[in-house]
């Protein structure tokens, strides 16, 4: 195979995997805390929007990212209050929030920029890349020159593995999802742990949204997250919330995304290419369930 082709495919995979990775790492936190987070889609979208807005207004991608993260955290806080303290159904609230944000971003875009379904401008500052030219083809293309958020996300994966499995907070987080009564019995409030998990999840989904709108495409368009919040959810369900497995599965889903991009330029109908990531997430989930069912059967 053509080396250029492999390189492009690899770089696109990494680029596409980054937001899925960040979101699923965030969702893994709430997953461990006992909440299947279906609001990640909305969290990414609100961040994608505010990242673009603030990047455009300030000319700085950094402020853009900060704005996106803050917006996403606020919404996540709202979600957590509903789910952990008002005991509302997490699916119902999650979808209400997703739909709210889908229309809210559209509404704000119209009010603020009179755009139709998308907003782009050369003034939107893009997220920096780790720009180093060593002259070595492999280093330059396979290790360097990715978005800084890509490096950050991989670091976060390892950091979360540390937090979840090595620290006191991580222990409580895992107990929170597995047996909240044990936590209550030890005098720790379940709701508070869930709240922290949700806020952190908001932050990570915020980064994911920023990567989408300030690096992957550098614009905001209607519902631009395109179900990635749920691809991330599938990744969490498959990985059992283990950060290193999340990393691997996100890369896999990133690869499907990259193949989708690549295939759009090929002879087959682009719709099938666009369909690919969604079909593959169902297929991977299906394979996972077939495998676990076999294990149950043996036990």
């Amino acid at each position: 195979m053509d080396i250029e082709l492999i390189t492009t495919l690899f770089r696109t995979s990494i680029r596409m995997a980054t937001p899925i990775l960040l979101a699923s790492l965030g969702g893994a936190l709430t997953y461990h805390a006992g909440i299947i987070n279906v609001a990640m889609e909305g969290l990414m979208l609100i961040s994608a929007f505010f990242s673009v807005v603030f990047s455009y207004l300030t000319g700085s991608a950094f402020y853009g990212i900060i704005a996106g993260v803050v917006a996403s955290m606020l919404i996540s806080l709202l979600y957590s209050v509903f789910v952990s303290f008002l005991k509302a159904n997490n699916f119902a609230i999650g979808f209400a929030i997703n739909i709210l944000i889908s229309s809210l971003t559209l509404f704000l875009m119209r009010v603020m920029f009179q755009g139709k379904n998308a907003f782009n401008s050369p003034d939107i500052a893009s997220i920096m890349e780790l720009k180093v030219k060593t002259g070595n083809y492999f280093l330059d293309n396979y290790l360097l020159n990715f978005s800084i958020l890509t490096y950050l996300s991989i670091a976060i994966a390892f950091l979360l593995a540390y937090i979840i499995y090595k620290t006191s907070f991580g222990l409580r987080l895992r107990v929170c999802g597995e047996m909240p009564q044990a936590l209550t019995a030890a005098g720790i409030k379940v709701g508070v742990i869930q709240l922290w998990a949700s806020i952190l999840c908001g932050g990570l989904c915020g980064l994911a949204g920023a990567q989408l709108s300030l690096y992957n495409v550098r614009m905001f368009s209607r519902d631009m997250t395109g179900g990635r919040g749920f691809v991330a959810l599938a990744a969490i369900l498959i990985s059992g919330g283990k950060p290193k497995r999340v990393l691997f599965i996100s890369l896999l889903f990133g690869l499907f995304d990259a193949l989708s991009v690549k295939l759009q330029n090929e002879k087959i109908a682009p719709q099938f290419a666009l369909m690919l990531p969604y079909i593959m997430s169902v297929v991977v989930l299906l394979l996972f369930h077939l495998k676990t069912r076999k294990q149950y059967g043996k036990a």
Binding site: I93, F107, G226, L285
Partner: protein, 344 residues
């Protein structure tokens, strides 16, 4: 819970407070959109209920909303989540269009009935696989039905771009359905067709099905206490599967009615998110068919009213979605206090 139905002063007060909260946040959003809230509300009300044309148009726009909401409600009766209404609706619409432009039975009514049955069957098929995976493998139906939406969207996009594209059209869309398939508008100058009565009829059927039919009763018991249902001899998995299939059929029917009664073809971005608006309606109506009609009317009025708002002011019509979702969140927040917490 004991006393849920008793109207206490406290509950009444909380309900009033809820309405007040929703209205003030709505006002705030309209104000943010650049219009004085009072004027904004006036434009919305005038635009949706102002004269009988607008009123009829509001009623007509209820059709997909009612059915999309019912598509969520029926599976919810047995404890299933159908988030795939959007995809099922698209498939249903395509099914109706396919029949409408390719076959003709000669009799208008037969044509329409066959097209609608096909649309329901297409929607049902799209709900079948997530339901099957759920009961066989316990695969989360929220993820699968949702992924189904994106897959369906691309599938339909392919079909209307390639094999079923209208050759005379510069855009990607199917040919028009034959005129004998069209459900005509009933009144000159206003968009109102018999599809409205079909939707209302379906709601009544569902209402009666739930309250009066043995199977509807089984749905209800399964959703209420699946262990008890199983011990009573109800086949829980079959019941859940069936509820999902009915849900899919209802969403498919919504698509079919849209094609036969309004668009007469399937084109790019056929649905502005009926499936998700339906989900919101169902959440607000607590899965009750009759309440769905009421909430669908309110949502439809908000949508047609918002178009009017956009016409006369700088506030974009997309505001309706924001207003609807905000309402759901407030009701969810207050529900805990008004009805009381209930586990499960």
């Amino acid at each position: 819970m004991i006393g849920t139905r008793t109207l206490s002063f406290r509950k009444l007060l909380l309900s009033l407070l809820l309405v007040l909260c929703i209205l003030s946040v709505w006002a705030l959003i309209i104000w943010f959109g650049g219009e004085s809230p009072f004027k904004g509300f006036r434009y919305i009300i005038e635009g949706s209920l102002g004269n009988h044309y607008q009123f009829l148009s509001t009623l007509n726009k209820m059709v997909p909303l009612i059915l999309a909401a019912a598509a969520v409600a029926v599976p919810a009766w047995t404890g299933m989540w159908n988030i795939g209404g959007e995809g099922q609706l698209l498939l249903g619409a395509f099914g109706a269009a396919l029949v409408g432009f390719s076959i003709d039975f000669g009799v208008g009514l037969v044509n329409i009935v066959v097209a609608l049955i096909v649309s329901a069957a297409f929607g049902m098929a799209w709900a079948a696989w997530p339901a099957f995976f759920k009961i066989k493998l316990r695969m989360d139906e929220v993820v699968t039905t949702l992924m189904g939406n994106y897959i369906a969207a691309q599938l339909i996009a392919y079909l209307i771009n390639n094999p079923f594209r209208d050759p005379r059209s510069p855009l990607a869309q199917t040919p028009y359905i034959k005129s004998s398939f069209v459900i005509p508008y009933l009144f000159e100058g206003s968009q109102f067709s018999a599809t409205f009565f079909v939707a209302i009829g379906m709601v009544l059927v569902l209402f009666i099905f739930r309250k009066r039919f043995i199977t509807g009763y089984e749905f209800d018991i399964t959703g209420s206490n699946p262990v008890f249902a199983g011990l009573s001899g109800i086949r829980v998995k079959k019941t859940k599967l069936l509820s999902m299939l009915i849900g899919g059929a209802l969403a498919g029917l919504a698509g079919g009615l849209l094609v036969l009664g309004m668009t007469q073809r399937v084109m790019q971005s056929f649905s502005p998110g009926y499936g998700f608006t339906g989900l919101l309606i169902c959440l607000l109506a607590f899965n009750d068919p009759l309440l769905i009609v009421g909430i669908a009317f309110l949502f439809s009025a908000l949508q047609t009213g918002s178009v009017n708002l956009q016409l006369f002011t700088s506030v974009p019509a997309e505001i309706s979605g924001v207003l609807q979702a905000v309402m759901v969140l407030f009701v969810a927040a207050f529900k805990t206090f008004i009805v009381g917490r209930r586990e499960g």
